[in-house]
């Protein structure tokens, strides 16, 4: 797969030249603010973070997987050597930074000083990326982002065609479904994970059904519709900024009220929290309010804009997978549980849960990183598999594509006997469709 070269950075592995120490030092210097300096100096090496990390727990408490060890061996070492590192060192870092951490931020909650280890890992990823060291799976998506603005490399024509197709298809089930493209001044601008239109456009169709029944004023933008941000996980800050800014700019251009995100974890982290900083917005607030699907669906159910047919609630025991970036890092864990109360009859919470729930192991870029990392992903996912098994649930509901994929894989690997569902599909199946939205009945019967 050809790698695209940009001035000063090379995407993709295979770059074999010497490390550009000057560039490394520039990045280290840019990160050497009060927080990073203090965190690196203050870590008392107390070891409390270890118990919080699912990598550590899944690998029989291997001390080399404690968060403090991981950041000291990478970013700590980079600063200690004042950036004078060699390629072999960076390759070892690559293994730790991407192979042993999903930046789930659980460790920050367990550190007495509240050291934000995920930020330290991200800074180190930036250094590795600048020297062309990044997992191949992420690198190939970066090419797509640069060329088409979305990680799947989907063209505008293909995208609009998919929207039209889904509008037609769902029009058979719900009357009056449209997927308006580029509608100025709409209340919500819906952005999605390109894996949806690319592989499973039914997601878009289902959302259209829900929004139609809820009577929402919405639109889909023809560009800037990708809310994911894999450059953020690859360590390519400038590209990450560009990607999220494209979405903000389109929302501002269309003059929409809010940006609605699909059920995706890191999209929320990117759009609502890291995005403004990546895009260079000084006050750190997104220019347009960001709403995650979980919040919107909760509001619809709470306000009765969508009503669930009690007969269609899920009867089998069901549990809720808290995506790190929606629950812990997004604050939406109660909303997720309230939705579960509307949709299921037998809800079993995991232990621990809410913001203390463990990462499934698929985030931080892990799933896109591909088959080479699958073994590790399955090994570290043992913690999540055990949690699921303990609940006795047959259904796992999760509003995140990476959790979705990871739990499906864990299901096969650990024989959990569960099926995974997104919130959209349950709502679509179970919602009461008011009279006016039912498709027109054929008047003539078969003769």
């Amino acid at each position: 797969m050809a790698a695209t070269e940009q001035a000063g950075t090379v995407a993709g592995t295979g770059e074999k030249g010497p490390v550009d120490v000057k560039r490394v030092r520039e990045i280290l210097d840019a990160n050497n603010g009060a927080r990073v300096r203090t965190w690196l100096n203050l870590c008392a090496r107390c070891g409390l973070c270890a118990e919080s990390c699912f990598f550590y727990l899944a690998h029989n408490r291997d001390p080399r997987l404690s968060p403090a060890y991981k950041f000291k061996k990478t970013l700590g070492e980079m600063y200690r050597r004042k950036g004078r590192v060699d390629r072999a060192f960076l390759e070892r870092c690559h293994d730790i930074l991407w192979g042993e951490c999903t930046t789930c931020k659980r460790c920050s909650m367990y550190c007495p000083f509240g050291i934000d280890i995920a930020t330290l890992i991200a800074a180190a990823r930036g250094v590795c990326y600048s020297q062309g060291i990044v997992p191949e799976g992420l690198a190939r998506t970066l090419v797509n982002y640069r060329e088409t603005g979305n990680q799947m490399g989907m063209s505008v024509e293909d995208f609009i065609e998919t929207c039209e197709w889904m509008a037609e298809e769902t029009g058979d089930e719900i009357r009056g479904v449209t997927i308006p493209v580029d509608k100025a001044g709409a209340a919500y601008m819906y952005t999605m994970n390109p894996r949806e239109p690319m592989f499973y456009p039914q997601d878009l169709g289902m959302l259209a059904q829900i929004l139609t029944v809820a009577g929402e004023d919405w639109t889909v933008p023809s560009t800037g519709w990708d809310c994911t941000n894999l450059p953020m996980f690859a360590g390519d800050r400038p590209l990450a900024g560009k990607v999220v800014k494209a979405m903000y700019d389109k929302a501002l251009e269309l003059g929409v009220g809010k940006i609605l995100l699909t059920e995706c974890g890191h999209a929320y982290r990117s759009a609502a929290f890291e995005g403004p900083y990546l895009a260079g917005i000084p006050d750190g607030k997104p220019p347009v309010e960001i709403v995650h699907s979980v919040r919107l669906f909760y509001e619809y159910l709470r306000d009765g804009r969508i009503r669930i047919d009690p007969a269609k609630k899920l009867k089998e025991p069901a549990t809720y997978q808290d995506p790190c970036n929606v629950s812990r890092n997004g604050g939406l864990w109660e909303e997720g549980r309230k939705i579960m109360a509307y949709l299921t009859e037998d809800f079993r919470d995991m232990t621990p849960n809410r913001e203390h729930n463990h990462c499934c192991g698929g985030g931080g870029g892990y799933i896109p990183m591909g088959p080479e990392f699958k073994g590790r992903r399955m090994a570290s996912g043992r913690v999540k598999a055990d949690q699921i098994r303990e609940t006795g649930a047959r259904i796992v509901v999760t509003p995140c594509h990476n959790c979705f994929d990871q739990i499906n894989d864990l299901n096969k690997e650990y024989e959990l006997g569960v099926r995974v569902l997104s919130i959209k599909e349950i709502i679509c199946e179970a919602m009461i469709v008011p009279e006016e939205f039912l498709p027109e009945q054929e008047e003539e019967g078969a003769e």
């Binding site: 927080r35 100096n41 909650m109 367990y110 000083f113 509240g114 000084p282 621990p352």
Partner: protein, 219 residues
């Protein structure tokens, strides 16, 4: 020896306190200046309520999930810190000196308490040292500096206790007491012991970052 003793009880005290306070002021001022330029994220989402909650939960024993996971360690570390602060501040021997020098001092605890608390301190320090050696996830991180600082921190207490009870050659013990305390004071602002002040800042920040921005609890 005498001149050393005089130095340590005279200029030594001044120098060490000067470096202690000056060092902190300098370090905090430097970090503050740096943060205005590179850490605007701290100020953009600052919220006193979340900062206080974040700090408060970690100032109370077992106030955070992390502490509850290791309750014995938490007990030891609270005892360590409480006695670390209580004894030097409220020991009658120190307060007499303050009173003589500045006609002002803090409340003094009964000497029996000071003795007991010093013993508690030394036991908890021993526990922390043992933990560092015994737990693999702590041992792998621990550097020579960590051991040295821990030992250095216990020396003032050990030597102070010895001096009060006249164990060993008094002047030598006192010199060790003064030397270790003064070196400790000088080192505090520049090492991980800077958490004396910086704990509050880093905790406040994570309180803003997780709490104010996301409603998540950082404890």
């Amino acid at each position: 020896m005498n001149s050393l003793y005089l130095f340590l009880t005279g200029p030594g005290v001044w120098i060490s306190f000067f470096v202690f306070f000056g060092g902190f002021i300098g370090r905090l001022a430097f970090l503050y200046g740096l943060s205005l330029e590179r850490d605007r994220i701290v100020y953009n989402h600052a919220s006193p309520a979340w900062g206080i909650k974040s700090i408060g939960h970690w100032l109370l024993p077992w106030g955070s999930a992390s502490m509850r996971l290791q309750p014995v360690f938490t007990a030891a570390f609270f005892l360590f810190h409480l006695t670390l602060l209580a004894v030097p501040l409220f020991f009658s021997g120190h307060n007499i000196l303050w009173d003589e020098a500045f006609h002002w001092s803090l409340w003094s605890m009964p000497d029996g308490w000071a003795d007991a608390l010093t013993v508690v301190f030394l036991l908890s320090a021993a526990f922390l040292l043992a933990r560092r050696l015994a737990r693999p996830e702590v041992r792998i991180l621990t550097t020579a500096g960590d051991y040295a600082l821990l030992v250095l921190t216990t020396l003032p207490f050990l030597t102070g206790f010895m001096a009060v009870h006249h164990w060993g050659p008094y002047e030598a013990v006192m010199i060790l007491h003064l030397l270790s305390s003064e070196i400790l004071l000088i080192l505090i602002p520049f090492t991980k012991l800077g958490h004396v002040a910086l704990f509050f800042f880093t905790r406040a920040f994570i309180g803003f970052e997780m709490g104010s921005r996301r409603g998540a609890r950082a404890w």
